[in-house]
Symmetry: C2
Subunit: 358 residues, 2 copies
């Protein structure tokens, strides 16, 4: 990893120390984490409490709420809130988890896999973690602000000002999710259950991420949620990869650690590392990264640079690919791959060691 | 109820028979159902299995998927599918339930109440029912089709053709939800937990109902779901009130009964009653209906006419207001009112008697 370090003029001693430290951490990970099998997951699930709530949100007064006769165009709505669904097991003796979905998806990413197996939401509950699955602001059960779209329909706002919503097509998603080199072609040994791909496509929703107000309400809501939970691992995926870091930059209160699964972006290697220095951080990628030269190779490299910079600043971050720890064939959707629960088991052991100090 | 019968020229005998029958049914309901208290709901919840899946959906090829550089404008997306979240208790000895939310809301309606109490989703699981909470097509976790909005942004479609989405303002919802006669004024004895109203407002999302393709994909998805479940009670709320009847008109397969909570509309009294004749049907309203002269009084009357016509055709339908069976102060959001679990208990007993024949 270290040959990717940015070309700063670091003192030789620091550089050497860091190289040794990184090697030790990597070896420790490899030694204890070779592809465990998830077991003990059958039998009834016993829940202490479950439910849902919202975090954040603001009231918005608008005169463009409706063009339909029975519903008033003027009034107050609430937008920017973040939906949270949670389950707490009876024997909750582990650190709480917050599962944050990626682009064009909702919290369903973590629920039942496309081929009908247990999702990571239930896995972590069964392992003793109070588990929280969110829908990002403006996605899923978290309301979109529709007032500009309605204003355009009314002729009050130019159509070019339509918020930048987009839908990811199956064809493009196929490549970004690393199912194969080109649409309908699969990588050899791919773990994603392609026979059930239709169910994944149904999980996808339009993405209003580019239209969100700034600062991003999902990030401030995650900060509020972490504070409320007192100690939580923020687990991001893909487009949300940067969110736990942005949350930590607001405040580290309540953040026990960060797990970024295939982050679409990481903090810049030359940015302020202080918010993350005290946090256990894992950046975890699947297989076939090096075959995604236009999309994932540059993203992996940028994240590697971030990890190196963070560790040099005194942090305790790791970046790895699942093949490095004994898994092969994993796609971008590792929580839905055929070996998803084995990957979850590996991650749970990482959390126990690095975050809970077990 | 019978003085509201439509002015058809029915034979006197049928009319008399119907009047007697309706009275017997109403008395039986009153005798056995006076405001029971929900009990035995504490302690751990034991789940046999849980998860989510989608029903329905179609592939849509479009050239207006995106205006953002990294995402292709052309490709295939999946739309019109319906999200289903379910829990099956270990001792599932009761009829499966499907909980269908109303206007401007999602499946969160049935989850934790705004003031943090158990939702009807968990209540029915604890009472032994496999319970299914859906998000209607184009709502919540069920994807909206964004292609027309994006085409408008691209200048390819006139802005007037923006699909008719609307957001219900707090002010208008206050009256339709029957919290009081005017915004911020509450009815005496109102059961809705107004101190937590902000949480209800956060549950609300833009409603694309008027823009849905026809036939309504939620209805065909409900039919597929009922068929899959083999025997299910379809429980609708408000705007979705007509859906279980439209579902039954497609096919009665898998429909064990229909419970319409405060239906916004009912089948016309002069329409074909045959699809509903064999089904136990309950139309249940809260309190203060007669004070909503412009909204709920005409809707209640139209539904009463439907019930009368259905029973005359040999059906077994009931329409009642919660005050008729011993509850007072209930709003339109009876599943979130302070006495929500007592109302659920009453409903569960009705289901046991009328649908399960216990």
């Amino acid at each position: 990893m270290n040959d990717k370090l940015p070309a700063h003029d670091w003192p030789t001693l620091a550089r050497t120390l860091f190289t040794v430290l990184a090697a030790v951490v990597a070896m420790a990970s490899l030694a204890s984490c070779a592809a465990p099998k998830a077991e003990g997951l059958s039998g009834p699930l016993v829940i202490e409490r479950q439910g849902s709530f919202f975090v954040g949100g603001r009231e918005l007064r608008s005169d463009t709420l409706s063009t339909l006769p029975p519903f008033a165009p003027s009034g107050t709505i609430t937008v920017d809130q973040m939906y949270v669904h949670y389950q707490v097991p009876t024997a909750a003796n582990r650190v709480p988890m917050v599962l944050i979905h990626g682009c064009c998806l909702t919290g369903t990413s973590w629920e039942t896999t496309p081929d009908g197996r247990m999702g990571w939401d239930e896995f972590f509950v069964r392992r003793g973690h109070p588990t929280h699955v969110i829908d990002q602001a403006w996605r899923g059960r978290s309301a979109v602000d529709p007032t500009t779209a309605i204003s355009i329909k009314m002729g009050k706002t130019p159509p070019q000002q339509m918020p930048a919503v987009f839908a990811a097509g199956h064809e493009g998603a196929w490549k970004i999710f690393r199912f194969g080199p080109a649409y309908t072609q699969a990588f050899d040994g791919l773990q994603f259950p392609l026979a059930s791909q239709a169910e994944l496509w149904k999980q996808m929703v339009p993405d209003w991420n580019a239209a969100l107000p700034q600062p991003n309400p999902t990030v401030s809501a995650l900060s509020q949620l972490a504070t409320r939970l007192r100690s939580a691992v923020l687990v991001s995926h893909s487009q949300s990869g940067i969110y736990p870091f942005q949350t930590a930059a607001l405040s580290t209160q309540g953040i026990a650690g960060i797990v970024a699964l295939e982050p679409g972006s990481c903090p810049a290697a030359d940015s302020n590392m202080q918010p993350y220095v005290g946090l256990p951080v894992l950046l975890l990628f699947g297989d076939f990264v090096e075959q995604s030269t236009d999309w994932w190779v540059p993203r992996f490299k940028a994240c590697e640079n971030f990890v190196n910079a963070l560790n040099l600043a005194g942090g305790k971050a790791e970046i790895m690919r699942l093949p490095d720890v004994g898994f092969s064939g994993n796609s971008h959707m590792m929580m839905q791959d055929r070996n998803s629960l084995d990957v979850a088991e590996w991650l749970d052991r990482w959390i126990a060691r690095r975050i809970e100090g077990r």
